[in-house]
Symmetry: C2
Subunit: 143 residues, 2 copies
Amino acid sequence: MDVRQKLKDCGIGITKPRVAILEYLMKQCTHPTVDDIYQALVSEVPTLSRTTVYNVVKLFAEHGLVNTLGIDDRNVCVDGDTTPHGHFFCKECGRIIDVPLTELSAGGFDCDGNMVTEVHLYYKGVCSECMSKRETDESRSPR
Amino acid sequence: MDVRQKLKDCGIGITKPRVAILEYLMKQCTHPTVDDIYQALVSEVPTLSRTTVYNVVKLFAEHGLVNTLGIDDRNVCVDGDTTPHGHFFCKECGRIIDVPLTELSAGGFDCDGNMVTEVHLYYKGVCSECMSKRETDESRSPR
DNA sequence: GAGAAAATTTGTAATAATTACAATTTTTCA
DNA sequence: TGAAAAATTGTAATTATTACAAATTTTCTC
């Protein structure tokens, strides 16, 4: 679906930064930070400011167009894919990998009287690439 | 089990701040922030500094004595209960409530070749208390 | 138990993500 | 087209966390 239409459907006004940011987020699978988004788009939208990226991401999140992840201690990461899935965070390289999850609910249910609107499943550990690197390094300099 | 013994078992030296912090965390069910811990213990350990709390919490987390939660955007919360369970975060009052979860793994498994060492399940929404407050407020000032 | 060596803590200063805010610019709509 | 409303921008403020060197505490040996 067209990005502009998506914004209209949410009652969000159409502006250059918003269109650029949503378009960018929808085609990413890397869960960029606010700074990543800023760096990626500043050449396309030269007047862009980091504050705008913060504002727009917050607005999008409030309307359910994106999810913000707290999986990385350093900074918030933004996910343009709002279908239910979990995330794996590699503590060595910082990469975030999607984890398919059929049994995970999308929220909107009741848990002991508390209303759940968001579900976050975070795995943390060492990704396969960093695991192979570790093994290579060990065989090179054994100890 | 005695807190000192726990520290010894992990190969961690016994010091006043460490004993006080671990004792405090083991009897809390509120998932305190670093600042909460500092505020709670500074009268008991007058020389305590926030930096020490950061250092000690990090050390404990590395040894699996506590878990650090990234559920609250503002700051890290510390959980002295390391048995597998999830968490509910109330977006209105900020309270964190334990969610019992039998089917959730404790980590140490493989996910698409990635080694998972930590599992975090976060629910976010509005807790039952804040829900009742909302209803009361609405009936008082309808609109 | 005293004293030296090692480990730990402490306070301050630095870092970095995020937010507040007022001025400017863009968009909307009559 | 032009005024009103909405959004963006840049700067400055805020705040959690980290770096680091000096001071203190703990440990270990005699």
